[in-house]
């Protein structure tokens, strides 16, 4: 009797196996879903779009690099950290193996493809499956992200926009969604001009489709207009830029009373767009911008520190001194020194949330466009334009404070500019350019400004082969390894 029981015990599992062999080995992953099942409904596509935003928040893109690199490259900031890749970027010698260089390329294309998958999948939805409004929202957001990535890619990997852009090489444009390798075909680099055209086209889609207001951290038509303004500005199409900047100014934003307020709050009145970071969900970028107990990786350069001194003209200084008055540029409080004293001009404080790392990045805000409009007015009218001076003053005076001999705050009107302060349009433009440099430090601006103005950067003249070597990033080696259609940049060859 016992023996029979043993026999049965032995064979039960065997029977089980034989009966259900195939199904027995059919398992599904618990953290993932199959990729051919998740691009079918509106809800799913919203999740896919969020994935694209998340990808854009990578430190290689909007999460960090695109915000701080322009200042490191152009000398507004120094890099005191140990990451050799960023050291090389700051020293203008990144190699084709550099991780940050590869990140802009590879992670950038991830965002672009995620956006493309959303666009093509939403377009494939029937009219009943999704309302027009939601359809436009998804597609508009996707185009917005595509444009952001391409705009940065073309500025880092291609020559600055100019007279040779129809032949200068940019980056490959990708407009097809790739779900599996059979959807993909390799492509060579498009020209800088073609890329700009594509960017402008994508922003146009975004502007047409998106409403004027949106949820925090998401694009809207005004944010897309702002980016378009930046693009036109970069192209030195000052006519278009003037009008676009005007649209932003009329867009219902207001300057915060204190320039530091923007960084200690989120989505304030001045904010046009910010990439939202939370305690649980952030790219960990504050590690690099904060003083973080190892004395800070990102430092204010002495050049920027000196520039702050020029914000008040010598004659204004003399007038202040004569009256025993002092001034303070509140924007210096966005820096501190190693002992923690505000205004110390050593360590930046714009991205200070080291504990929670919840600082937002990739900032687009009103002050930039006020200055943009001011500058374009001067250029377009070739005069000491009154509206320009007014805009300049608005930005300037909200940052400057004047104190009397007792230290009490008084009106700062004396620091306002008037037409008589400028003997030529060029002088006014210089004042605006200086204001931009101070206002927008470590916000992804300075290098692009200098390039636009075709100025010498760190001793290298624009338009020279030296400039090509220094300021155009190499094509990542990994990209060259698999796509033989890609042509190299001067930096690839040493």
């Amino acid at each position: 009797m016992k023996k029979r029981i043993y026999k049965y015990i032995m064979y039960v599992p065997m029977v089980f196996v034989l009966l259900s062999c195939g199904d027995f080995l059919d398992l599904d992953p618990q953290q993932s879903l199959s990729s051919d099942e998740v691009f079918d409904t509106q809800q799913e596509l919203e999740n896919a779009l969020i994935g694209a935003y998340n990808a854009y928040q990578d430190t290689d893109l909007g999460g960090l690099n695109m915000t701080i690199f322009p200042d490191l490259i152009a000398g507004n900031a120094d890099w005191a950290g140990s990451f050799p890749t960023i050291v090389d970027v700051t020293d203008l010698v990144p190699t084709a193996q550099n991780g940050e260089v590869r990140g802009l390329w590879e992670d950038g294309y991830s965002v672009i493809n995620a956006a493309n998958t959303v666009i093509s999948s939403v377009e494939a939805l029937d009219a009943e499956a999704i309302s027009d409004e939601d359809r436009n929202l998804l597609i508009g957001d996707a185009y917005f992200l595509k444009a952001l990535v391409q705009f940065d890619q073309v500025r880092y990997f291609g020559r600055p926009f100019g007279s040779t852009s129809s032949t200068d090489l940019g980056v490959p444009i990708r407009n097809e969604a790739v779900f599996s390798l059979s959807d993909y075909e390799p492509r060579a680099r498009n020209t800088v001009e073609q890329v700009y055209t594509q960017i402008i086209n994508d922003l146009g889609e975004a502007i047409n489709r998106l409403p004027a207001t949106s949820a925090d951290g998401r694009a809207n038509s005004l944010a897309a207009t702002a980016v378009l303004a930046r693009v036109r500005f970069q192209q030195r199409d000052y006519t278009a830029a003037e009008s676009l900047a005007g649209q932003i100014i009329d867009g219902g934003f207001t300057l915060n009373a204190d320039p530091t307020e923007f960084y200690s709050s989120e989505f304030s009145g001045e904010s046009i767009f910010e990439l939202a970071a939370t305690i649980q969900d952030n790219p960990g970028a504050t590690f690099f911008t904060h003083r973080n107990l190892r004395d800070g990786d990102t430092r204010i350069s002495s050049s920027l520190s000196d520039a702050f001194d020029d914000i008040v003209t010598p004659s204004q200084r003399a007038a202040l001194a004569a009256g025993n008055r002092t001034f303070l540029d509140l924007r210096t409080r966005l820096t501190e020194d190693s002992d923690g004293n505000l205004g110390g001009m050593e360590h930046p404080l714009k991205f200070e949330d080291f504990v929670a790392q919840a600082d937002n990045s990739y900032i687009i805000r009103l002050a930039e466009f006020m200055l943009m409009r001011a500058e374009t007015l001067v250029i377009n009218t070739n005069s000491v334009n009154a509206e320009a001076i007014d805009l300049l003053n608005q930005v300037r005076l909200r940052a400057l404070r004047v104190f009397d001999a007792n230290g009490d705050e008084i009106s700062n009107a004396e620091l306002a500019f008037s037409a008589s302060d400028f003997s030529s349009p060029a002088e006014l433009q210089e004042a605006i350019i200086l204001e931009r440099r101070i206002e927008l430090f470590l916000e992804g601006n300075y290098w692009h400004d200098l390039t636009r103005l075709q100025r010498t950067i760190r001793g290298v003249a624009p338009g020279t082969s030296e400039a090509d070597l220094r300021f155009i990033w190499p094509i990542p080696q990994r990209a060259l390894d698999t796509n033989s259609l890609l042509e190299v940049n001067p930096r690839n060859e040493g």
Binding site: L27, Q30, S32, A114, S180, L181, G217, V355, P476
Partner: protein, 1009 residues
Amino acid sequence: MKKYLLLSFMLMFAFVYSDTWAQQRTISGKVTSVEDGSALPGVNVVLKGSTAGTVTDIDGNYSLSVPTEGGTLVFSFIGLASEEVEIGSRSVVDIQMTADVKQLSEVVVVGFGTQSKRNLTSSIVSVGSEDIQNVSVQGFEQAIQGRMAGVNITGASGTLGASQAIRVRGVSSINASNQPLFVVDGIPMTNDDTNLGGAALGGPGTNPLINLNPNDIESIEVLKDAASAAIYGSRGTNGVILITTKRGKAGKTNIGVNYYAGFSDPTTDFDLLSGPEYQRLKNYGNFQRFGNDYFDPVEDDSFQNTQDAPNADHIDAITRTAFVHEASLSATGGNEKTKFYAGATYRDEEGYVLTTRLKRYSGRINIDHALSDKVKLEFGINPSRTENQRQSEDNNIASPYTIGALARPDIPLLDDDGTPTTSNLFGSSPLADVLARTRLLTTTQVLSNINLDWEVFPGLNLRSEFGIEYTSITERQRLLPDASVEAAPGGSAFANFADALNYNWNGLALYYFELDEHSFEITAGANIQVAETAQFDVTGDTFASEELKTLESAANITAGGGIGTEYRFVGFLGRVNYNYGGKYLFSVSGRYDGSSRFGEDNRFGFFPAVSGGWILSDEAFLSDLGGVDLLKVRASYGLTGNAEIGNFASRGLVTFGRDYNAIPGFEITQISNPNLTWEETAQLDVAVEFGFLGRIRGSVGWFNKTTTELLLNVPYDLEVGINTTTAGSTSTLLQNAGELRNRGFELELSADIIKGNDFQWTASLNAATINNEVLSLVDTDGDGEGNEILGNTTIIREGDPIRAFYVVPYAGVDPENGDALFLDESGEATDVFNTANRRVMGDAFPDVFGGLTNTFNYKGIDLTAFIQYSVGQEQYYDDGRFIATQLAAGFGGNRSQLGAWTPLNTNTNIPEARSASNGNQRSSRYLQDASYARLKTLTLGYTLPKKLTKNVSVRVYAQGQNVFTITSDDYEGLDPESSTNDDDSAVGGLTFFSRPQSRTFTFGVNVNF
């Protein structure tokens, strides 16, 4: 009438039926051993030609009824020479039995059974418990290092519980794991160090098998060739390691008590600049970089009075001489029906890095019980627990050993208030950091198996083997504000829990029969395995006090998550072992194996193997020749597979958790490949086994393993825009797309050099060569040649070994100006790194590796010395890019940097110090010959004379581990065995502040009674 008829029938029947009915006598006697006269229990005593028989009892006595006249008794026992004795007219037959030279060593454990070593046609090496127990190592892998030809075990790190990379006959995979399959008492272990190894701390990771107590192990067999491993089907390519635990024996209960204690230090240490040396060299470099403009002696950037600079030895501050001790108890015993083994061990070992410590508690009971004379039950249970206090290691800025070398030596260890300074590196200092972090990994494991063996009739056994492995880890970390890069008030904390439940069932039928000279052993069966893993973790920060330890007190919970995963295997197996006259051997096996890991279209695979052997020494022409104990040739060929990839590698997947602003998002993270299939290896193995003069034994063999359908992460264009989540490579698709080959020779030789009465000396040597070559890789860029897969310092390409070191050649220093020089492809020297070209300059495969053991016995004294060697491999000293840079950055450095080029010291290989990059790029400057020979174990023991200790055997001993190491002249690293890479990875050979192994000295006592 009927009654009488019946009775007479009964009588006749009884008479005929039992020839012992009427004329019987009882024979009794005692069986003892000829060696020392001790009683031999369990010996079979059978009346030849009948079924009458018995077994000797605990005292060696037996008693058997035999016919009054004639009869021959046959005495047999495994390992002893059978004896046949005519009874004659005696009533007492005593006998002494001797060891059977032919059967000596062994029955070898093979997959799903055992086989006598003599009849083996496949390549299996074996290590017994005497080499494994009572050696002061944390895990069994360290005890078997270097003892088996062709099995290369490298200790990746000196961290307690660090994973060990085991490579059986080379490296057969690039992307799948290269670790062999571990089978403990029939249960294939999960060995999942991703989920069960605790959080990654920057180094090679911990070893989930650390819970296995070496003292419980009876033997370890490594199945090296296809014939032995094919029975494990899709998991046999990297070799199979069979671990068998001890079981009881009938007889008097034996109790063993063992204890040892000792201390350990690292085998080597850094040689770092002192504070004054650092400042002087830094001054020089700063002057070179900034010249007179910046180098103002009054500024803080330059150092004044360098000879008075503080001198802090950070490595010394964070290391210590560590204490280890282990106590274990075991008991074996039983009778004919029930046998047991019980063992318990407690181990407490400090690591030489401050605060690190590993404790293990382990208990095991194995019981064999005969439920009836046909059915046997085998039961085993082994609960264990290890508590591992860890610190970060290698490539992690929180690793004390790493930042101990990087920290500036001119900043004192302590602040004025006597507490460790926090102003050295990353907001802390090595000493402050190591004291501000606690990280405890607790691994609890229960292994249990229950087997039934039913002898249906003699020759046919049915077995059901059911085994469970349950492993769970709990990990807690607490960082206090003094820790580097820790800014949250009160610090932060992290907790992680994971567990794996792995159950395995084998159903086997074993049939053995003989037909004249032909004997057949047939095995057939099925195997099912299911393994489920679950994990979750939480991170939080902002504590009101440093004394609060758990996450309950964290004001902010900043992260959390958890995963679950599962895999299953199903296999059907069969094997036939045949021999003719014990001289001509043949074996064939096959396994049809399937797994949930592979795509629907390719789920199952068939893995056959065939092998044969010829025992020449049994042939007349040789057996007449004296001195030849054994001469055997064998060959095998078969297919095995490698299934160690992710559980869902063939699917197109999107992964969630790609959230933005608290809204869930996903991204495509894996492109589908429905054709994904096994990596398949075909292996040919030929060998000659020999034994001469009763003193010399060994084997010489050659193997050739060709792996096809190599799983490669084939890169696709970055512009595809799908970032796969495979660790270490993005934008790649896993495809079966390549071929590689391992081939080599293996030699095992052992000799009883001196076999005197008082003095014996035996030596054994094993050596193996590995020739690894990538045969073909997929060609995706259309240039007519296979793709090259480039790593930072390595390359995988056709014609070279896997991950050959592919770096820019370093050409020394320009004596004119101190520039570092490199070579371009034409061999021209250049000082511009970007114009130099990389080339293959070595690899991490040894040319020859193995071990040499010498054992001496003189009266009661025993001395064993075991040397492990490995010659011809290179190692990339990646630490050098940070500490052998002539102080290019702000970190500390090696003292060797004092030999940097200066106008007065132009004949040197170290470039000028410039506080900027000058020769610190990845070049062959940091590629070193890592050949070594290491005296791994040296043991001197003394067994007290029996006269003194009577029935108790007492042995005292002293033992050293990693006693000393010889490395090549140009070796600058710390430990030629170490590697910062995971134990699964294709090749190690790169260090990044990897901790060197410990040198340990222990003293111990074994008592057996």
